[in-house]
Structures are given as C-alpha cells and as structure tokens.
Symmetry: none
Subunit: 404 residues, 2 copies
C-alpha cells in the first residue's frame, strides 16, 4: 500500500487569454515538472462537484475528499468559522460576520468599518459571552471580517440576517424563518443588542477613532448555517490524514474531517505563499501520514484579479516547487488537480472542468505529455470530484475488491 499526496491548486482552470494568443495561463506557463509527471501518469479532466457546476472552493474540496456537498454543505458560515480557528462542533450555528460602522440611528454607514482589522481581535473577545445558556463565540478574520458561532441547546439555522447587505440601510432585526427558528432568533437579538452596547463603549473603538478609522460598532451577521457532522476521514477511508494549507476555508474543512492541520506563517494563501515550504512540508508528512492534502491558493487569487500574467508566474513558481515530487512519486501516489476554474477573463469561478493527473510508479499511462486544460483532455479520465478518492484508493493499492 502506498501513501497519497493530493495537491489541489485553487482556481487552476482557465479559458483562453488573448495576451497568450488564446492559450490559458497553464498552457502558456513553463511547467516542466507537471508536464513530466503528466507524461508518466494517468491524465484527464475533473468536473468539480459535477459537470457544469460552478463550484466554490468549499463545496469542491468537500467533494474531492469524498463528502457529498449536497448532504453536508450547510452554507459558508460554518466553514469560515472553523477556518478562523473557532473549534466548531456539529450542531453549532455559524454566521459569516462583518465588523461595520453604524450611526446612532441604526443606519449602516460602512459595512466594512474601513476594511481595517485594528482592535477587532480585542472587540471579538469582548463580545464573546454566554446569554440564556447559549455560548456566543466571535473570532476576527482578515480586514473587517469575522465569524460568529452559537453553541447550546435547541438552536436552529432557520433565522434571517442582521446584515442589510448595503450601506445606507438600517441594521435588521433577526427573524425566524420557521417555528423552529424562534428561540434562536430571540436569543440572537438579545445578544446583538448586548454586543452593540459593548462595542460602542469599548476603548478599542476609541483607539480606532484616534487612528482616524471608522468605529467597529456593529457586528453584521449573515448566512446562518449549522455545522455538519462529517464522518472522520480516517475512519471513512482508513487513512491517517494531514492537511497543508494557508487559507481558513480549507483548513476548516480539513479540521472538520478530522485531519491534522500543518501550516506556518510562510503559507499565506496568497500569490506570494512559500510553495516550496508547502511541498517540502507535505513530503515530510507523507512518512507519518497515509494521506496528505495540500491546497495552493495563488492561481485563484490571480484569476479573481483577472491577471493572466500573474497567474502564469504563480503557476511557474508552483511548478518549480514540484521538482521534488518526481522522486517522491515512486513510493507514493501523487495527484495534482484544481478545485475549480477561475478564468482570468471572468474574474470569478466558472463551470469549466480542470485538468487532473495521477502518478505513481508503474501506473497506467496515456498519451498526455503536458498538464493543462487542453492537453489533459487527451487523457483517459473524465472524473467527477466525488470519484477522485475512490480512484486514489485503487492507485494506492488500498481498495478492497468489490466481488470476487
């Protein structure tokens, strides 16, 4: 039995770019290591979640890891909360949240409180509390972002947002969307009233004012979701698993699946992340774990920025880090794919498939000698993300025979 290294390059897929004479960033980039692995392995296209679906990173990673998002995806809140370091538990209700600026009449003047994270960590701790037996946990994120988690009995995600979703509107009261949401809505309104008073009186907001920043005097919440129970990855597949990733949403999913998270401050989840550190960390972990998931975020960021030249450069730096994968592929199974396409011409995710390559010594080969959206289509696989784990299991000689 071999161990498995699964490398998911976020937003990898693209569409033709005029600046590359109609090639994609991945086609145009100089990627000798990916191409060499492609030439030695099994290639094809992967449809994230399903063919034509415009998948998010969260739903696609869940699906790649063998969890059907139609059963376990309960909104972005729970996954972001995990990613911000809140140790969420199944049954918790989680919201995405913004620190915002509100005038005395209750009208939102800046939904993002100047996009500044100054003192938001302290503010988050100040408004983490227990009300009527319910724990309210707030954790700050990048810039104005945060997450709110409610923990306790009789909670339901069937409640509306307080976030009016536009400046100039008033903060909304939480309302129950059904009978089962009534208790949650009630205690949530009580909590938000309390939090509002604390935020307005906090010395942290005085400090923000001294620095010329808008006060973070309101926590706007949206997208209630219940934290799902994911079957432990190690019991699901019999694989002791680790995750190397810089972005909260991926480490959150991996945590919920029971994987151990390995990250350091050089793994930033940006185009400047230390790709070499990720790959060398992952290869070190492959000795201690049966399965290592690596997420590399950079190309997605370049796609969202509509910057094909940056995407190409990031891909070339990633490929450089892949140099050491080739010897590692002899004793392990290596899979490289994307979680979705983020075409530079679109600036958002699209439903185009992504290339996938799988390599281990002695594996089935096809005629593909390059790793990209066009060349990989000559390969043998057309695979949905939810089928990837099954394929990896058989390539690593870990599958049980179905039948005799």
């Amino acid at each position: 039995m071999k161990n498995i290294l699964l490398i998911v390059i976020d937003g990898l897929g693209d569409r033709p770019n005029a600046i590359f004479n109609g090639l994609t960033a991945l086609e145009y980039a100089y990627t000798p290591n990916m191409d060499r692995l492609a030439g030695m392995g099994t290639n094809g296209l992967m449809y994230p979640v399903d063919i034509g679906v415009v998948a998010g990173s969260d739903t696609s990673h869940l699906s790649i890891l063998g969890y059907d998002p139609s059963l376990v995806y309960t909104g972005r809140g729970p996954f972001e909360a995990m990613g911000l370091g809140i140790n969420v538990k199944p049954g918790d209700i989680a919201f995405r949240a913004n620190f915002a600026t509100v005038d005395p009449s209750g009208t939102v003047t800046d939904r993002r409180a100047g996009r500044s994270s100054m003192e938001t960590g302290k503010l988050a701790r100040e408004i983490s509390m227990n009300i009527d037996g319910i724990d309210f946990l707030v954790k700050e994120g990048v810039e104005h972002r945060a997450a709110l988690v409610m923990r306790g009995k009789d909670l339901s995600p069937d409640v509306s947002d307080s976030d009016p979703h536009s400046a100039g509107a008033r903060v909304k009261r939480i309302e129950a969307k059904s009978e089962s949401g009534k208790f949650t809505a009630g205690v949530l309104n009580k909590y938000l009233d309390t939090a509002r008073k604390i935020l307005r009186e906090s010395p942290s907001n005085s400090k923000r004012k001294q620095h010329g920043l808008p006060e973070a005097n309101e926590l706007l919440i949206r997208g209630a979701g219940i934290v799902p129970e994911l079957q432990d990855f190690s019991s699901k597949f019999g694989l002791k698993a680790a995750c190397v990733a810089g972005v909260p949403i991926i480490t959150g999913i991996a945590s919920l699946a029971g994987m151990e998270i390995h990250k350091n401050e050089r793994m930033t989840g940006t185009v400047n992340s230390d790709f070499d550190a990720k790959i060398s960390t992952a290869l070190d972990l492959l000795g201690k774990y049966d399965f290592v998931l690596v997420n590399i975020k950079g190309p997605d960021v370049a796609g969202h920025d509509r910057n094909p030249v940056l995407k190409k450069e990031v891909i070339e730096r990633i490929d450089k880090a892949f140099e050491r994968l080739i010897p590692a592929g002899s004793g392990n199974v290596i899979c490289i794919t994307g979680d979705h396409s983020t075409p530079c011409s679109v600036g958002e995710h699209s439903g185009d498939p992504v290339p996938i390559l799988l390599y281990t010594e002695g594996c089935r080969r096809d005629r593909v000698n390059a790793f990209n959206e066009v060349a990989s289509a000559d390969g043998s696989l057309r695979i949905k993300s939810g089928e990837v784990m099954r394929y990896l299991m058989q390539m690593s000689d870990r599958s049980e025979k179905y039948g005799a």
Copy 2:
C-alpha cells in the same frame, strides 16, 4: 450574461456507411461551418438520456431541456396530442390514435385507413364531444394519424388499448389495468361506441368512398398517458424561451414547458424544410428571448429511410444555413448537438452517443477541428443530455456559484 441558442439536429448520429467507405454521413458531408465552430469551441460526445439508452426524440428533448424523463415522461400520447395542436392540460389522459377501417363484424381490415387524411379533420370534430362529464377531444394528424384527449375528473391512464396492433384482429374493448382505471375504461368504451356510430354515418366517409378510399370508420387508440406538469422553463432556469420547430412532438414539449412556439409553413419537419428560415428566425428571436431551441428534423427522416446519401445532403444544406451562426456566436452561446442517433444502417434510433459542440467568444477550446461522431470524441466533454442545460448556464455566465 449571454443568451443561448440550442440547435438539436434530430437523429444526427450515425454508424459507418459502406457507401462512404466506412464514414458516417456527418463525417462524409462537407460542413465547413460546423467544423469552424467546433474548432473555436468546446466539443465532446453527448449521451441522450443516459449512456447506451436508445432515446426517442421526446425523452431526449425533455432531458436536454432539464426535465428528467424518468419523472415526467408519461408515454408518447400526451406529447403527440400537444403537437397536433390540442391544448392539453396537466391531468388530461391522452392516446395516440389511428383512423382505421373495420368491417361490420368489428375486424380491422386496414389499421391505417389507406394512409389518407381525407376528411379526417371533419371526422375528428364530429367525434369530439362530452360524455358523462368527460370531454373527448380528437385531432387529426399526418395521414391516418390522430390523437384523443380525455379531460375531466377522476381519470386514470391505467387502461388498455383498443388498437389490436394488427389487421385481421378485432377491435379490443378497453379494460382497466387497475382499480383506479375502472371509471376511465367504462366511459371510454361508451365514448368509442358512440364515436363508431357517428363515423359510420358520417357524410365524410361517403365522400372517402366516392374517392375510392377505405372508410375511416374506427378510431383505434393506444398508449394511454397522463399529461405531466412540467415546471415552467422560464422559472426553472430564469430564461425567457422560444422554440423554432416544425414537428409536433417537439413543439408539444416546448409548449408544455411554457416556451413560445415560432414556426411557419416553410418549416416542415422534413428533409425539405427551410433550414435557413429556421436559423434566421432563431437568430432574430435571440434578441427578444434569453433561450431559443431549434429542432431540425431532416437527418432523422433520412436515417429512418436508410438513406445515407440523402442524410449527407440534408446535413450539407443545414451546414450552409449555419454560416450565419459564426458571427452570432460572439455575443451568445451556441450549442449544436443531436437528440439521438438514427443510423442509416439500422433505420431506427440507436443508443450511440451524438457529437456536441458549444461555442461562445472566449470559451474553453480543445483540439477538435471538426464536428462529427469521430472527431468530437477528442473533445473535453462526455456529457449526458440532462447535464447540458447546466453547462449552457455556466457558459452564458448565468450560473450561481455553489459555495464560496
């Protein structure tokens, strides 16, 4: 967001033909416009309904339009009745019907009444009536063909045919296949007895006799089906939709889906249909509608006639009409595919996949430079008909992201 033009060439797929040295009609035909679109777009093979299914035009079109035929296909009767212009409603029971010739003993002498439609329109109106609170609506079709629709309370499709399916046999009494079909069978027998008397005494049948035609003195019915409720296409996909088609079964499906039907007398649904009129009508409609479905029937007719030379010629004339699609593809999404294969060597539908091409400016390209059963297999897509709408939605930038 772009608009979508979906062109379904009926019976497009084929198998090798000896007369073309083992090529299919589509491979052998000179199709510079389809080939050019293929070279600019995303290609592949589509499995009608599902891989290996020998799909009908009705089940395949339902599936392509996003309706699962296993849920909504209730037999051909409802769809043919719609296509003949009966404004069927969900819950109606519909039958396919033949005007037939029966001798005084009740034995069928000609199941198709000389294949003549003479006076069948008048006869159909004469035997449209209300019995015991149930409306019976009859509409004539091509040659001897017709449809019967029952409308009223407590009706069930669980009844047998009156059509014995062969000449020399006696007309059958309708029987209930279950308890729930008893009322329907009873009122239907009463109706058929009444209709029989009217048909025998009708001056229209005297006229037929004067013209040397067999009397159309019996309405043989078969294939009871209940008209299904289809979710409105515009609410299902958020697309205001039109259909350009000449054949009743397709316009029937489109009507049931709430599409507006555009046809004129030059769109005949035959090999001599005015393909240019169809495409120019469709392109005009693309300005006013978000989605236009075009059905082109000719190649299916040639396939059923086992005539590969005719099929090739029809395909070449269709391709000529596609000349104007290329400029239209810049601002819209264009999809060309078939609804099933009708191999000339078989003369009937087969379960072989059909080529599919999708093109819009800036879309993902692959290495395919021709549109046919063989070349398209080098493309990136292996898609089931039920997945086509989702793919078109993402190509037209209309999909919502699933996740974050």
